[in-house]
Structure formats: C-alpha cells, structure tokens
Subunit: 147 residues, 2 copies
C-alpha cells in the first residue's frame, strides 16, 4: 500500500507535481476503495472524514490530474456521474466492466479479452487503437441466484 503511494508520488513528481497532503488523502481513499467505482462526490465525502478541511474543488482537481497521468480512469456508466477507477499497475489497457441492470453492481474483468477483436479492427478499419472501453449490461450472478 505504502509502496503504491510512493510510486504514485513518483509519477506525480515526474510530471513536476507534488503529492500534497490533500492529494495524498485523495489517493488513499481511492486505494482503500479500489473495488468500488466512486464518484467525485463519494471521494469527497470519504476524504472529508479524515481531512475535514479539504475542498470539493481540490478533489475534482486531484481526480482530473490523476486521470491525466493515467493513474485513474474516468468512466461513465450512463447515470450522469463520472466515476474514478484506479488503473491496475502496469495495465496498458482499460479493464472491462459488468454492470448489473437489476442491482446496479459493477464488477470488473481485469483480463484483456479484446486482443483478437482489436487486431481485426486495426486491420479492417485501419484504426490505430490506443485504448478501449467495454461494458456489459446484464444480470449478475448474485441476482440470478435470487430468482
């Protein structure tokens, strides 16, 4: 955990930004809630629990910065809110999501399932792929059991 913070610190300083206490608090919240897909508001409320004086704008700025440095991914599932998701270390590509239309849960698929598809797209559409977003909408295993 500490080592991940250190590495993020290096990424920041590499781009001549500092890991200020506010930024560190924000990063810690993201690390502690890695499973979730927090909105900026969610992050703000969680950060505020430990650092009550932090401002909402600072959280937005930090998330924006982390997104530019590819530390987090900014995603939209269509509910009108941006969500911020820590990128797996070393992951070249965005991971995939399973959004349950019953309960709203969002699960992640870390595996890259798209290599074959990307090869086809690059060739057939002559498109140089840099990243992708893949989300499946359906019924998660939990809601299937409930039936």
């Amino acid at each position: 955990m500490e080592s991940r913070i250190d590495r993020i610190k290096k990424q920041l300083s590499g781009a001549s930004y500092k890991l200020t206490p506010q930024r560190e608090a924000t990063v810690r919240v993201l690390l502690e809630n890695e499973e979730d897909h927090l909105s900026a508001e969610d992050v703000f409320l969680l950060v505020r629990e430990k650092s009550p004086d932090i401002g909402l704008a600072t959280v937005y700025r930090t998330l924006e910065l982390l997104n530019e440095l590819n530390v987090v991914d900014k995603i939209q599932f269509g509910d009108g809110v941006s969500r911020y998701d820590l990128r797996q270390e070393g992951a070249a590509h965005f991971h995939h999501h399973l959004v349950c239309i019953e309960c709203g849960a969002v699960d992640e698929i870390q595996e890259d399932l798209l290599e074959d598809v990307e090869a086809i797209v690059e060739k057939k559409w002559n498109f140089r792929i840099k990243d992708h977003r893949l989300t499946f909408h359906g019924i998660c295993y939990r809601c299937q059991e409930d039936k």
Copy 2:
C-alpha cells in the same frame, strides 16, 4: 424512410404512445442524420428549423422515450453530453464506436465482433449479458494519412 417512420410509429403505439407531430419531427431529424451522433441540443436545433415551436423539453422527453423503446441508443463518449444514435433495425445489440483522439470523429462498426468474448464472459463470470458498449479510442484512418 417512410416505412421506417411507420415501423417506429408501430413501436410507439405498441407501448401505447402516439407519434405526435413533435415526436415525428424528432424522429425525422434522427433519420436524416443517422451518420452523426447528435446531442439533445443538436437534435433540438435541427428540429426547430422545421418546427420552430417545439420545446427543448419535448425533444428530451422524446429522446428518452425512444431510448426506452430501444429505437435509439443513448451514449456518452466522455465529453459531458449524451448523444443519441438510431439503432439499426433488428439489431439485438448495440453497435461499436471508433472515437478518434486527434479529430474527434466517431465512426461506427455495425458488425458484432463480440460473440466469442460474450460467450467467455457469460460462462466464466456467470453473467447474463443483455447488451454491451464497446468503444475504441485511437487514431482514425483520416488522421493517419495527414501525418
């Protein structure tokens, strides 16, 4: 064209909605701009050219309704605006998009490239897929030529 409007009319009446003049004007704009990915504002401005008395809220409501009936798909590319895209007739699934990070162009892939991937996800994650969203970000063929 007229036949497509007729079929959309049937879809509406099947769900006990009417194809009012305002709704028809909105659908026509979508049909005439099928290649584009219009925002609600875009649609509103285009509809207004022919039906100056239409209200923005009506356009929003119509787009929302068409989305619920799966006539259009509501998509977000991350620029803060929802865009509305006519679904190909008979298409069970959402089509895919190629978003160029240089020029912003959005191209479409109508083919379903995900059958194999979906089979894996359904089995391995025990997730019953209803729909999917797949967007590639990269450099389109036009911008590659410009180099």
